[in-house]
């Protein structure tokens, strides 16, 4: 066992406002040339007096070196997949984010391209976007796609809007008011469907953790606009009744929506387009290895079968004789979902990733992600206090969901405490309390980029926590202690009396206002 002595940096870092000293600057903008100054009026005279800012914004005044150090200190009080050990955050696919992709994404031609440039000046950017789309269609088995959605949930909502447009076009939107969603779905699914104007009908999972086909038959019907499903599902189980599910929904007149958050398990093994899905979204920041930036930017391209292609957002990228262009002429389009074409810089990283792996490498990546998660599931499922609920005999796909319900009952140690204790070993916690159908859930997704040695470390850490839970539970309950800060008073942050969402508010609370 090689568990490390981890201690996260703690700089007790002040807020940037607290580093301010009047008169300091961290950056000098250029000055207007003398000829420019001579040619135009004084700025105060140009601006109508009622729109001139009288009081400068109360921003901090800090020198360059102090700004840099402040944010480097803060970065050291953070944990990333490329700077940590393992980031097994289920459903988030925290794989290695290759450095070469960052280097390429920093290419001046990429950084400096304006979205309204004449297409003749940006043929390179358009070409890679076109090729990324082509690879995407191949992996998903769809007929057409838009790269415009800026994140997974944005893609879900875009997909729902396409389903809406399809039914509207057929004159059936009035009666097709429902989207069916399994109880194990990501929270974004019902939220996206609701934003698209639909009512949500929840369908319960069967004992095997998959969609209960009889329950589905009972709710599918004339009101059904579609079904949102992720397969493999959030338990990490591939729903082998998918063909039957598609048939039920299609026969009811609904469409099938594929939440691609879990695509990492199946690249080159099977494709949503072949399972009967009409619309899919894929998170490039998961499956295609683009970094998540502490919350974003992501990218959530949406693929469709040909019967929905006419509804895709404008513009689409087209190619003719090696010349790429943007086509806005799509009369049935749902319009636009993003001001421009989506998170193009993120797309470039995904494109480079695709080329680095190639078709065979993508399949191998999926296979190894599945091998890694089964390795962990198999080695941890009999750990004292833990279990692998829902069809424990079935192989898992890219992730596995353990339950700490028994441990909680017997020792008082909850999934939350296990998660916090893992942090103390320098290991990021799995996703916890999701999916909601598993009590005390620990949702573990190691990804294919972790070596077996790292997996063994993770397994050892969990086993050690289990032993501790049964021998010295108070040790586990006080975690985390090796992170920059210890346990936090989270309710305080939301309480009306103590809520503080900005520096300005903080100052007035300090003054007792």
């Amino acid at each position: 066992m090689t568990l490390r002595k981890f201690r996260q940096a703690d700089w007790d870092e002040p807020l940037i406002f607290e580093l301010s000293h009047e008169g300091r600057v961290g950056f000098l903008p250029p000055k207007a040339e003398p000829e420019v100054v001579d040619a135009v009026d004084e700025v105060e005279e140009l601006i109508p007096s009622e729109m001139l800012r009288e009081k400068p914004p109360a921003l901090p005044e800090v020198s360059e070196v102090d700004v840099l150090r402040h944010y480097i200190h803060l970065s050291q009080m953070n944990y990333g997949v490329d700077s940590g050990l393992i980031y097994p955050l289920g459903s988030c696919t925290m794989k290695y984010n290759p450095i070469i992709n960052e280097v390429l994404a920093g290419h001046p031609r990429m950084l400096g391209a304006h979205p309204d440039q004449d297409p003749s000046t940006v043929q390179g950017v358009l070409e890679f976007m076109y090729n990324l789309r082509r690879g995407y269609l191949n992996v998903t088995g769809m007929d057409d796609a838009t790269l415009q959605p800026a994140a997974g949930a944005h893609g879900e909502w875009t997909g729902i809007m396409l389903i809406r447009a399809y039914h509207k076009d057929r004159g059936e939107l009035g009666k097709r008011t429902e989207i069916i969603i399994p109880d194990s779905a990501h929270g974004t699914n019902p939220a996206s469907a609701a934003m698209g104007g639909f009512q949500i009908v929840e369908v319960l999972s069967g004992e095997d953790g998959c969609v209960d086909v009889e329950a589905l038959k009972a709710v599918a019907g004339e009101k059904t606009a579609g079904l949102m499903l992720t397969n493999p599902n959030t338990l990490g189980i591939f729903d082998n009744k998918i063909a039957e599910i598609s048939k039920i929904v299609h026969e009811a007149g609904g469409l099938m929506y594929y939440d691609g958050a879990n695509l990492n398990a199946i690249m080159g093994k099977c494709r949503p387009g072949d399972m009967g899905f009409d619309v899919v979204h894929v998170n490039l920041h998961k499956t295609f290895a683009t970094p998540h930036g502490g919350g974003g930017p992501g990218s959530g391209p949406v693929g469709v079968k040909s019967h929905l292609a006419g509804f895709l957002p404008v513009p689409t990228i087209e190619e003719k004789n090696g010349v790429y262009s943007l086509n806005y002429d799509k009369p049935k389009s749902i319009g636009k979902v993003h001001g421009y074409y989506g998170n193009v810089n993120v797309m470039l990283k995904a494109y480079a990733y695709m080329l680095t792996l190639g078709g065979t490498g993508l399949r191998e990546a999926s296979e190894l992600s599945v091998l890694n998660s089964n390795y962990i599931a198999r080695k941890l499922k009999d750990t004292r206090g833990l279990s692998l609920p829902y069809s424990p005999e079935k192989p898992r796909m890219h992730e596995a969901v353990l339950s700490a319900a028994k441990m909680n009952e017997e020792t008082g140690v909850r999934a939350l405490n296990i998660a916090k204790r893992l942090l103390d070993y320098g290991i990021h916690a799995p996703t916890i309390y999701f999916p909601q159908i598993v009590h005390e859930a620990l949702m573990i997704e190691p990804t294919e980029t972790e070596s077996v040695e790292v997996l063994d470390d993770f397994i050892d850490a969990v086993k050690k926590i289990s032993e501790m839970a049964y021998s010295k539970p108070e040790e586990v309950l006080k975690a985390p202690t090796n992170t920059a800060v210890g346990k936090l008073d989270e309710p305080r942050a939301a309480h009306p009396k103590t809520i503080c969402l900005s520096w300005r508010r903080y100052c007035s609370l300090q003054r007792g206002e």
Partner: protein
């Protein structure tokens, strides 16, 4: 024989075999038995590669270098603008601890990103004169969509009044966002001389159906709206929300929206330290006053201050999560999950570097150079710049007589200069015209080069 892939440590045959043995399988496909035979993908994905790093570098750079290398930054704005990004900003956002982290679900090990985003919220509030900001939306356009939906959730009304000269792209996104909620956007007339919103028309159109009045300053066409305070009063008089749309980089110089009565402020944060990147990632700004009715309806993540349970030390967490999709599911205020967090960090670094003095000086050089460009272009035969009699911050309309905006741009591009965005399709009533943008990235030399380029085409 296949070489192991650098990203796949367990692709080494002995390692893989050992793992398979440990879990009692003979082949990887034993793990995929749940996929029915008929649904299995046979054959290989049609994706080129695998390539080595050097090959990928060559391939991808080669593709990007098919773009034309312009002689100076494009004279384009309208929602994305060429502004200088200080090196410190790029250095900070490249840090692996920020770049490769997920949403801070585990706050104790994520204080760095949490504090950085809290600082972003705080800095933005100072700049906008507001009290609460969220941790970003996708872009200005989606922020407008979310702002309209928020207004409607609060007052149960269905109409948003928008300026006549709004970006058609932004308006299209607003329509997509609000259509399922049964909302509509109605345009306000403009004053033919100034281009600004016709206040009398606003008075006429605002009524019990008005969820919000939305005004941008500087406007899409670059002029500053002078009547914003009056417009806010008119909106409030009918219990509608007043939403201001801003280019934040103008606010070192121009009045903060919090000071003219904005209930919500949205805008595009890209100019604050983010590259143009062919239009994304961008940074959707979203800020409000400390009004509980509004805060509880806000979309997106919000970071707040709390304390450690032991020792009462200041710390940061995601808060008010009961608004969000992972808790509230279909009853959430929005479906947003991933946002533009790293762009927030870039903007926090940017605002910290510039400070009040830097932003003021930046605003001055931007507007001085823009006015220099207008003056020089306006003197050319057959050219009018700007077309409206208002103060313009950094963007302005240019009207052409005797030629088309498209022909002008074509000629400029042959000189590797990207001129302004043609407005001929977007606003045909303006005739042959284009929307130009000048920033601190355009030197006097660049502007003079543009003017020479224009002379060439006008004389031809």
């Amino acid at each position: 024989m296949n070489r192991p892939h650098p990203y796949l440590p367990n692709s080494v045959p002995e390692v893989k075999d050992g793992m398979m043995e440990a879990i009692g399988i003979k082949s990887i496909d034993d793990l995929y038995t749940d996929i029915p035979e008929a649904l299995r993908f046979k054959g290989e994905l049609d994706i080129p590669g695998p390539y080595t790093e050097a090959e990928v570098r060559e391939l991808v750079s080669g593709t990007l270098e098919k773009d034309v290398g312009l002689r100076c930054p494009p004279f384009l704005g309208g929602g994305v603008w060429p502004h200088y990004v200080p090196s410190v900003v790029d250095e900070v956002v490249r840090r692996a601890e920020f770049l490769t982290s997920y949403t801070p679900y585990q706050p104790e090990i994520s204080q760095g990103i949490l504090q950085s985003i809290f600082e972003y919220q705080s800095l933005l509030c100072e700049l906008l004169g507001m009290e609460v900001a969220n941790a970003s939306l996708y872009d200005w356009s989606s922020a407008l969509g979310e702002a309209a939906l928020l207004a409607s959730r609060i007052n149960h009304r269905d109409t948003v009044l928008v300026p006549y000269f709004i970006s058609p792209k932004r308006l299209a996104v607003l329509k997509t966002y609000t259509e399922p909620a049964g909302m509509r956007a109605e345009k306000l007339d403009y004053d033919a001389t100034t281009g600004q919103v016709e206040i009398e028309d606003l008075k006429e159109k605002v009524n019990d159906h008005t969820a919000a009045v939305y005004v941008e300053t500087p406007s899409y066409l670059g002029f500053v709206e002078e009547g914003v305070e009056a417009m806010a009063e008119i909106a409030h008089g009918k219990d509608a929300l007043f939403i201001a749309g801003v280019d934040p980089i103008s606010l070192g110089l121009l009045k903060a929206p919090g000071d003219y009565g904005a209930d919500l402020v949205i805008g595009e944060g890209q100019p604050l330290g983010n590259h143009m990147n062919y239009g994304g990632p961008l940074l959707g700004l979203f800020a409000a006053k400390h009004d509980n009715r509004v805060i509880r309806q806000m979309p997106g993540r919000i970071i707040g201050i709390t304390e450690t349970l032991e020792g009462g030390r200041r710390a940061y967490v995601m808060t008010l999560q009961t608004r969000e999709q992972h808790i509230r599911r279909e009853k959430a205020t929005s479906n947003i999950c991933s946002n533009e967090a790293l762009c927030c960090v870039a903007s926090a670094v940017y605002m910290s570097l510039l400070g009040p003095q830097g932003l003021r000086e930046l605003g001055e050089v931007v507007t001085s150079r823009a006015h220099y460009a207008m003056r020089r272009m306006g003197k050319l035969p057959g050219v009018r710049a700007p077309m409206f009699n208002s103060y313009h911050f950094k963007e302005f309309t240019v009207g052409f007589r005797g030629t088309t905006a498209e022909a002008v741009n074509k000629s400029l591009i042959s000189n590797r200069i990207q001129g302004g965005l043609s407005l001929a399709k977007e606003f045909p009533e303006l005739g042959e015209s284009a929307l130009y943008c000048v920033t601190e990235m355009h030197t006097k030399k660049d502007i003079d080069m543009l003017v020479s380029g224009l002379m060439e085409v006008l004389e031809a």
